[in-house]
């Protein structure tokens, strides 16, 4: 039963708990056992909160016993990216500068999860301050991909993706600033969603690039992602950029799973040179599948998408250099060199040098450069203009089609260490995902099979207009259902990084 519980969907677990067929405590215990068994190898978690998880689960069981109504995800365990503040667990952002920090308040998302009866198992590993595409920038060591432990699980929400793909949790929360949910989702064979910017609250999310950061769900099925999307979203008066509008009907859309008559645009610029052949193979098949299900597929050009990556690597570091100025060694976190002889400025400089890793330092310097007088107009100013051009490309495209599609990543999961010393190579992992961060629209990555040459997962990205998040769920759910029917078993049954692939028919890849 235990191993079956960890293989179940969130919707399935919630139904069993609601019906009293299994207790929330049993569900939590099964997942904690699973973490105990595999996380030494996967390293998805920075902190496991067994006691508080079991306490939260017991509270759900008590509520059920008392006949109180339970939410649609009550009793379902979740891995929370370590960038969300939690009063009862440390919040480190994968950084030495916040090692052991206990925030005095919960993030809005954290509070919403608790009120929904979701059981937070612990804090998921991440690239330091969400800067990276592999979790190799975590100060506490990388997470590993459950398909192949020698490869990255993506990033920055790579602990979240690894936890879900390794059956340590059916749900996880990440943040997506340049692709940090969709890219790890794609390379681990799970669903990853960047909601419309402002659709999910940033209050209590330690800031990286405030105009881009977007919390969102990761799950093994599109419906589970939609259920979590609804549970975590909505207007928050504590976040002035939070959108004051109803949450799009994403759960209904995931159940609808119908693309007949839908106009789908294939983005010309997100294809071709630099893309792994197996990624293109699976992507092309997914597009053909959508067409066979009644969608009207056309090719759409977004001429400025090729400039999204350079614009992003000016805007995000600029905002980061400003946001991370708060780590001054005075009010919380690490302090180094405070020996009575050094000034506050010296202590600050020594602390930041000791507490930040290489990628964070690089981006702070790059951002400081782009914002400095004499360079501001040529770099930051131009990047902001490119952002306008990209938004206009989307607006024009969405006049012709309902959603846009592309591969979620140019390649499958790369080996740990391969890009660690080459920042530009690492940045390319976010090539397809960045445009939607700059424009703020919604986008999802849904698995569309395995690349023939390496047997690793490929993600299909579906991009929808601002606040039309439900549209991409319709498409993703349709693809998931059709591919699942063709395959006859969940894609993750084939993951063998932990030596647990489930036997199936020959050549099902």
């Amino acid at each position: 039963m235990d191993s079956e519980l960890t293989r179940m969907t969130a919707a399935g677990i919630a139904a069993l708990v609601a019906a009293g067929e299994v207790s929330a405590v049993e569900v939590a215990a099964a997942h904690l056992d699973r973490i105990e068994a595999v996380d030494e190898r996967v390293h998805a978690f920075l902190h496991v909160a067994a006691d508080s998880a079991l306490r939260a689960a017991r509270a759900i069981d008590d509520r059920r016993a008392a006949g109180q109504p339970l939410g649609p995800l009550a009793g379902v365990p979740l891995a929370l990216k370590d960038v969300f503040t939690t009063t009862d667990m440390p919040t480190t952002c994968g950084s030495r500068i916040l090692e052991g920090w206990r925030p005095p308040y919960d993030a809005t998302v954290t509070g919403r999860l608790r009120r929904a009866g979701i059981v937070i198992l612990g804090k998921a590993n991440m690239d330091e301050f969400a800067m990276g595409s592999s979790t190799e920038n975590s100060a506490f060591g990388p997470s590993r991909n459950p398909w192949d432990l020698s490869r990255v699980p993506g990033g920055s929400s790579g602990g979240s993706s690894a936890a879900v793909a390794a059956f340590e949790a059916p749900l996880a929360i990440g943040t997506d600033t340049g692709g940090s949910i969709r890219q790890p989702g794609a390379v681990t064979g799970i669903v990853g969603v960047k909601p419309t910017y402002g659709g999910s609250s940033r209050y209590g999310v330690v800031a990286f690039a405030s105009s881009l950061d977007t919390p969102g769900p990761l799950a093994r099925t599109v419906l589970d992602a939609a259920l979590l999307h609804e549970a975590m979203s909505g207007h928050d008066p504590c976040d002035s950029t939070s959108v004051d509008a109803p949450v799009p009907p994403v759960v209904a859309a995931a159940r609808q799973a119908d693309v007949s008559g839908l106009r789908i645009g294939v983005v010309t610029e997100l294809n071709g040179e630099g893309y792994q052949p197996g990624v293109i193979t699976r992507f092309t098949e997914a597009v053909e599948l959508l067409e066979s299900m009644g969608a009207k597929v056309t090719e759409v050009s977004c001429p400025h998408f090729g400039y999204a990556l350079p614009a992003y690597y000016l805007i995000a570091p600029s905002e980061c250099s400003s946001n991370l100025a708060r780590f001054d060694a005075m009010r919380y976190g690490l302090r180094v060199g405070d020996d009575g002889t050094r000034s506050a400025e010296e202590v600050m400089s020594l602390t930041r040098a000791a507490g930040f890793g290489a990628e964070v330092k690089r981006r702070i310097i790059l951002g400081t450069y782009a914002l400095s007088s004499g360079y501001y107009d040529a770099y930051y100013g131009k990047a902001q203009q490119v952002r306008t051009l990209i938004t206009r490309d989307f607006e024009k495209a969405f006049e012709q089609v309902d959603v846009l599609v592309s591969p979620a990543t140019p390649t499958t999961a790369f080996p740990i260490g391969e890009r660690a010393d080459d920042p530009m190579a690492m940045y390319l992992a976010d090539l397809c995902t960045i445009p939607s961060n700059l424009a703020g629209n919604a986008a999802i990555s849904v698995p569309c099979g395995l690349a023939p040459e390496d047997g690793l997962p490929v993600g299909l990205q579906v991009m929808a207009p601002v606040l039309a998040d439900d549209r991409m769920y319709r498409v993703a759910a349709a693809v998931e259902a059709a591919l699942g029917q063709r395959r006859g078993h969940p894609l993750l049954d084939e993951a063998n990084g932990l030596g647990e692939a489930r036997p199936g028919q020959e050549g099902r890849r």
């Binding site: 959108v243 405070d338 000034s343 400025e345 290489a358 450069y369 100013g381 490119v386």
Partner: protein, 97 residues
């Protein structure tokens, strides 16, 4: 060469990062490559195109002015690197001379 080691050292001082000589060497080379790549934004962003500062523009955001209890000093100082007499203790802020 778009950025020199000396410029990186200057930026590090502005950013309050006490970088080692080794880090300065490494970052100067890497940042040179990165800046050359991101400079491509200058190819397309013609004059007259308005800048976008935020993905979803919102202006004049208000909320109800409701009094809520603030965090207690004890809770906040509990996470301070150093505290004294119910306050943050910080290193001296003025130079000796």
């Amino acid at each position: 060469m778009s950025i020199t080691r000396e410029e990186v050292a200057h930026l590090a001082r502005l950013s309050r990062l006490a970088l080692s000589a080794d880090e300065l060497d490494r970052f100067a080379g890497q940042l040179d490559v990165i800046i050359a790549a991101v400079a491509r934004v200058q190819e397309v962003a013609a004059d007259g195109i308005p800048p976008t500062t935020h993905a979803v523009p919102v202006t004049n955001v208000f909320r109800e002015d409701i009094i809520v209890p603030p965090l207690g000093a004890g809770v906040v100082l509990d996470q301070a690197p150093a505290a004294e007499q119910g306050r943050f203790r910080v290193p001296r802020i003025l130079a000796e001379d």
